[in-house]
């Protein structure tokens, strides 16, 4: 991994990093990737695993929740007339 890879990942993850932070992360990633790389070499037999998990959905009908509308709106960093306000996208 090189510094430009860290930059690309930070761009994808939408995290602004200073030059020092990029260098620190590059160093850390080197150590961590050397450690987890072992996983690539683990020998598995040909048999594909059978996943038994399934999604569980509920019907799309309104149900009572104890969410407080007021508390949710209060969390918005920026709001107007009870709506979340965001920067113009287009």
């Amino acid at each position: 991994m090189e510094i430009k890879d860290v930059e690309a990942l930070a761009e994808l993850a939408k995290i602004e990093l200073t030059q020092d932070e990029k260098e620190a992360i590059l160093k850390d990633m080197g150590g961590i990737l050397a450690y987890v790389k072992v996983i690539e070499k683990v020998e598995l037999d040909e048999e594909e695993p059978v996943y038994t998990l399934e999604n569980r959905w509920r019907e799309d009908v309104a149900e009572d929740r104890d969410f407080s509308h007021e508390l949710i709106v209060k969390q918005f960093p920026d709001s107007q007339d009870g709506f979340l306000k965001v920067k113009k996208i287009l």
Partner: protein, 474 residues
């Protein structure tokens, strides 16, 4: 004076029932210790302003004769468990101003029973760490030796109980975040079966791994909490319906498997010596000890450090500076994201988000993420197979004892290795419990860990209570 050091839920319940003391007396006893110790230990980030009101409410339930065993019991909760109307920051700057808009399922259940929630406790940022040193709100110290870490990520919840600042507490585990601090602080810590306790209202780190996990000074205390909270929650799609919770129970649960090959190296000699002594003690009271092999479990921590960051990078994308939490101004939407996340997340969180982004990216997905998921399936399978022959699996809880504050902060892999024996239970979903097993030459706690088959928590409680007697701890 209430002897907080030796107090258990059962003893407190009896005293409250008989009117030996009131809930307010009990809560005030803890608040006094908090006042004296919390400044140094930093177990709590906040003591809730309604603690006395909660105590009075609990007293009314007791006076009316309708109390539950948990009524009036003082709890501490980890800072990633939502408690309506109160801040829940997950130890992160990005949630410094976030007020929970609803109660976590487990909190709702505790409220129904009339427990007293004293406050929220410090943790590694977003539960990422094994020493409670990555919190945006300072380190937590180990009450047994304040120059040392309490373990993590639920270090504050552990320190609160170990330091007599709460009778019991709730932490969360993704990989050892309750068992390892239990080991470092001399407590009992239970990681329940995945799907036993609802994750609804818990700030997620790794959804396929996270589980609410109690701390107590005795097996009986964590058992009481587990039984009160092990319920189906239809609002959590990974909560398992009660009728599906069947454990394979045998009459004679006396066969313990020890995967010696997993800890031939890398374990502190005193930890190893203590583990062997513990096993010997169990043998002497009739347990059969057999050597077992778990060849894929050897790769548990490596698999974990691929799967968890992948889930982290997905989960933490919700913290965008737009909907709630810390927000920095920017000229456009992207700048708001970049700046808010850049400043809001600490070093370890950034590290794991980027690592997760990497292992999920095109070109690395098959080599890392997909492979780790396959290895995880193998681990699940081999642990299930092992339980066809043995009733319990024993290992040391952690390879080392509580280390000094400041250690391992510059070496992420050394920090990750603290949880090497925790990973198999989280990856396979089986329950596991850490038990105090003595002290080393410096007086620091040592710990023994058991794993049991899915939903066989009762086996853990049984062996745990027997072991407590062997150790002469009760």
């Amino acid at each position: 004076m209430i002897d907080l050091e030796k107090l258990t839920i059962e003893k407190a319940h009896e005293a409250l029932q008989k009117g030996v003391y009131t809930v307010r007396d009990l809560v005030e006893a803890y608040l006094d210790v908090i006042k004296e110790k919390n400044k140094e230990i930093n177990a709590y980030l906040e003591i809730y302003d309604d603690v006395i009101a909660q105590a009075d409410k609990a007293q009314k339930i007791i006076d009316s004769g309708k109390s539950d065993i948990l009524t009036g019991i003082p709890f501490a909760i980890k800072d990633n468990i939502l408690y309506q109307g109160h801040i829940a920051s997950a130890g992160s700057k990005i949630l410094e101003n976030y007020t929970a808009s609803y109660d976590a399922f487990v909190i709702r259940k505790l409220k129904e029973k009339g427990v007293v929630v004293i406050g929220r406790t410090n943790m590694d940022e977003f539960a990422m760490g094994s020493s409670t040193q990555t919190s945006a709100y300072g380190v937590t110290r180990n009450p047994i030796d304040p120059t040392r870490v309490p373990g993590g990520s639920s270090g504050g919840a552990a320190a609160a109980v170990a330091g007599n600042m709460a009778l019991v507490s709730l932490g969360t585990e993704t990989c050892g975040s309750v068992r390892e601090p239990a080991a470092f602080c001399g407590l009992v810590g239970l990681k329940p079966t995945y799907g036993a306790l609802s994750r609804n209202g818990i700030i997620a780190m790794g959804n396929s791994l996270d589980q609410v996990s109690p701390f107590g000074k005795s097996v009986s205390d964590v058992e009481i909490i587990f039984k009160a909270l092990s319920l189906h929650d239809k609002e959590d799609s990974t909560s398992i319906p009660l009728e599906s919770r069947t454990a394979i129970l045998r009459k004679e649960e006396k066969k313990i498997g020890v995967p010696w090959h997993l800890f031939e190296t890398g374990v502190d000699p005193e930890v190893m010596e203590n583990f062997k002594e513990s096993i010997e003690k169990l043998k002497n009271v009739g347990y059969e000890i057999v050597d077992i092999k778990l060849p894929f479990s050897k790769y548990s921590l490596e698999a974990y450090y691929v799967i968890m960051p992948a889930e982290v990078s997905t989960n933490l994308s919700r913290f965008d500076g737009i909907r709630y939490g810390y927000s920095e101004k920017g000229d456009n939407l992207k700048e708001v994201y970049m700046k808010s996340r850049g400043t809001g997340f600490g070093r370890e969180a950034r590290r794991r988000i980027l690592l997760g982004t990497y292992v999920l990216s095109h070109g690395y997905y098959d080599a890392y993420y997909n492979k780790a998921v396959k290895v995880r399936e193998k681990i699940k399978k081999e642990i299930s197979s092992a339980f066809l022959d043995v009733d319990l699996i024993a290992t040391p809880t952690a390879p080392i004892v509580a280390f000094k504050i400041g250690e391992k902060m510059d070496d992420p892999v050394a920090m990750y290795l603290c949880d090497i024996f925790s990973a198999p239970a989280n990856l396979s979903g089986v329950p596991s419990m850490a038990l105090p097993s003595g002290k080393n030459s410096e007086g620091l706690p040592l710990s023994l860990q058991f794993m049991a088959p899915h939903f066989a928590e009762d086996s853990l409680f049984r062996v745990g209570k027997e072991f407590e007697e062997l150790r002469g701890m009760i």
